[in-house]
Amino acid sequence: MMPVRKLPALKLKAAALAAALSLGLMAAPGAQAAEGNIEIPDTRYSFDGLFGTFDRGELQRGFQVYKEVCAACHSMRLLSYRNLRDIGLSAEQVAAVAASYQIQDGPNDDGEMFERPGRASDRFRRPFPNDAAARAANNGALPPDLSVIVKARVGGADYIHALLTGYEDPPPAGVTVMEGMYYNKYFPGHQIGMAPPINSDGQIQYADGTRATVDQMTRDVSAFLAWAAEPELETRRAMGVRIILFLIILGGLTYAVKRKIWARVGGDPVT
């Protein structure tokens, strides 16, 4: 499993908060200190910024990459097939995707477990029955569940994209990579157990005809994982805009009332 480097973000936050709270008395000197940070390149996504939204086409392509590449080893056990309605699949398409998997169910009246085609309400089928089986099939390494991976890594979707494109073979001079490991620029410690999963243009055939370059596929799957981690993102931001606009108007009115009431006693005191 992966030891995760997360300190820089927290330093930044603590420093930023401190700066904000102390009214600018303290800058953020801690932000870039210490421990050989690797700069994660900024991938421009449609959902960046405060008001960004997901690109449904990109999410559907990303799901295709997940389904055809990542799902061989990585589970997404917090998602159900029905969730795919959110990325623009119709009910029939969702039913078809679900039905293409055999899901274990049971026990039936005879006490036997049995397999049946998946339904929209089923969770994404896991590639391995348990963690031990996953490790056994992966040289001892456990492929992490990807449901909330974007929230669980510093850099989020940028990091995922960087990781997927950060393999170097051969590794830089002077670096010895252990047996069964791969060199990756962006992985903490640089040695990762996952072989480069997306490694050649045209590795998959996109259903929408988009040219499947490595960059395209890695971007798409990172966007899909960002959606999977925060499916509420668009609702949340839309609601936030409305609530904050409402509060600003209410605040203006309240302040006006306050001025009016205080005018009875000569306005705000001299302080």
């Binding site: 997360k6 330093k11 908060l17 917090l78 929230k151 009875r264 006693v265 000569g266 001299v270 302080t271």
Partner: protein, 423 residues
């Protein structure tokens, strides 16, 4: 009127009927309606009301979270994510609760800062202040246990580190840790008791808040000048003057809160807490939530474990005796030309500690944390007692009204809420 009934001034028959038998309306009118409040509050005086609102938000969202949360090591992480995905507006409730904790600490830290700056802790408000420190301590315990509940990596390892601190206590330390854990490591029994206590403590806080407000309504509020109101010209009825002024503050607070919840809900959190707890994998750096960082820095500044634990708790404990450490008769820092700057430095120093607490405990960070820790305590133990003796405070104004009213003189009838032309 029948004997034994309360003399009610309300005319609405239903209100009057209740009020005669249980004078809650009279009480509200007295404590929140006509309650004489110094007329010169600035916006720092919003933060008590904000803390109250915040506590109510936390309890309300917490109750709904508890309906959908499962306190079991194998289900807790997933149940939180189910709240985020499958409960109607579950993501909203959870993000409000999660960021509400941070907002609560921001509000309370500003509230405490206002006390330090305007000397609100001094006689006759010592007990009021001590009840406040008690609330702060209870909040920290509650927040710590709440952070354990999602059962992510930081939940688990934070719980392990913090509960282990108690093992530093001589003789009974290990027994206490076993008791906290309900076993021999942080595990399911720990999660269960933390959940139970996390649900209980906010109501204990609410109880202490009640005492805090009861005490406040005996002594009355302090004010930016730090001098007591001498008569009706120095005060205004709480309603409508401060109900409306607090409302302005509440809306600004809600805007900040909403920005966090809707646009960067995970900014103050830690990515590792979205990795399910794993007792076999230790995170590279275990860091507490931001509001614990100053105290974490103090803990790590001391090379001895027991010493560090004592200093960390001492940093809070010292606040309890602050009214007796600062013997200066002048409350407000406005009239304390030297102490004011030492307090400003103390404020900056608090943020230095916060920053140092988030850094690895090595090299120059340790030195900075030690110097900051020394100043944190020196301010209370050396500087304030000394300044009480040597500092010459500026002359205090004769009265609040004299100092703050335009034109200097008291406005006749200003204390009653009646329209008046501006002079």
């Amino acid at each position: 009127m029948a004997s034994g009934l309360h003399e009610s001034s309300f005319t609405n028959p239903v209100v009057r009927w209740i009020d005669q038998r249980m004078p809650v309306f009279t009480m509200m009118q007295k404590e929140y309606g006509t309650f004489p409040t110094p007329r010169n509050f600035n916006y720092f005086w919003n933060f008590g009301a904000l803390a109250m609102i915040n506590l109510m938000i936390m309890i309300a969202t917490g109750i709904f979270l508890a309906m959908n949360y499962t306190a079991h090591t194998s289900l807790a992480f997933e149940s939180v994510e189910r709240i985020m995905r499958d409960v109607n507006y579950g993501w909203l409730i959870r993000y409000v609760h999660m960021n509400g904790a941070s907002m609560f600490f921001i509000v309370v830290i500003v509230h405490i800062w206002r006390n330090l700056y305007y000397g609100s802790y001094k006689a006759p408000r010592e007990l009021l202040w001590m009840l406040g420190v008690t609330i702060f301590l209870l909040m920290m315990a509650t927040a710590f246990m709440g952070y354990v509940l999602p059962w992510g990596q930081m939940s688990f390892w934070g719980a392990t580190v913090i509960t282990n601190l108690f093992s530093a206590i001589p003789l009974v330390g290990d027994a206490i840790v076993t008791l906290l854990w309900g076993g021999f490591s942080v595990d399911n029994p720990t999660l269960n008791r933390f959940f139970s206590l996390h649900y209980l403590l906010p109501f204990v806080i609410a109880g202490v808040v009640f005492l805090h407000i009861a005490a406040l309504h005996i002594t009355g509020s302090n004010n930016p000048l730090g001098i007591e109101p001498k008569g009706p010209q120095d005060t205004l009825p709480f309603h409508p003057y401060y109900t409306i002024k607090d409302s302005v503050g509440i809306i600004v607070y809600l805007i900040v809160f909403a920005f966090l919840v809707f646009f960067s809900p995970n900014y103050l959190g830690h990515p590792d807490n979205y990795i399910p707890a794993n007792p076999l994998v230790t995170p590279a750096h275990i860091v507490p939530e931001w509001y614990f960082l100053p105290f974490y820095a103090i803990l790590r500044a001391v090379p001895n474990k027991l010493g560090g634990v004592l200093m960390m708790f001492g940093a809070i404990a010292i606040l309890f005796v602050l009214p007796w450490l600062d013997r200066s008769p002048v409350r407000s820092m406005r009239f304390r030309p030297i102490a004011k700057w030492f307090l400003m430095l103390w404020g900056v120093n608090f943020f230095v500690l916060m920053w140092a607490g988030g850094m690895p405990a090595e090299g120059v960070y340790v030195l900075i944390a030690r110097l900051s820790t020394a100043y944190y305590f020196a301010y209370f133990l050396v500087i304030l007692p000394l300044l009480a003796k040597i500092e010459r405070p500026l002359p205090l104004p004769e009265s609040i009204a004299k100092a703050v009213l335009r034109g200097g003189g008291p406005l006749p009838g200003a204390a009653v809420a009646k329209p008046m032309e501006k002079a």
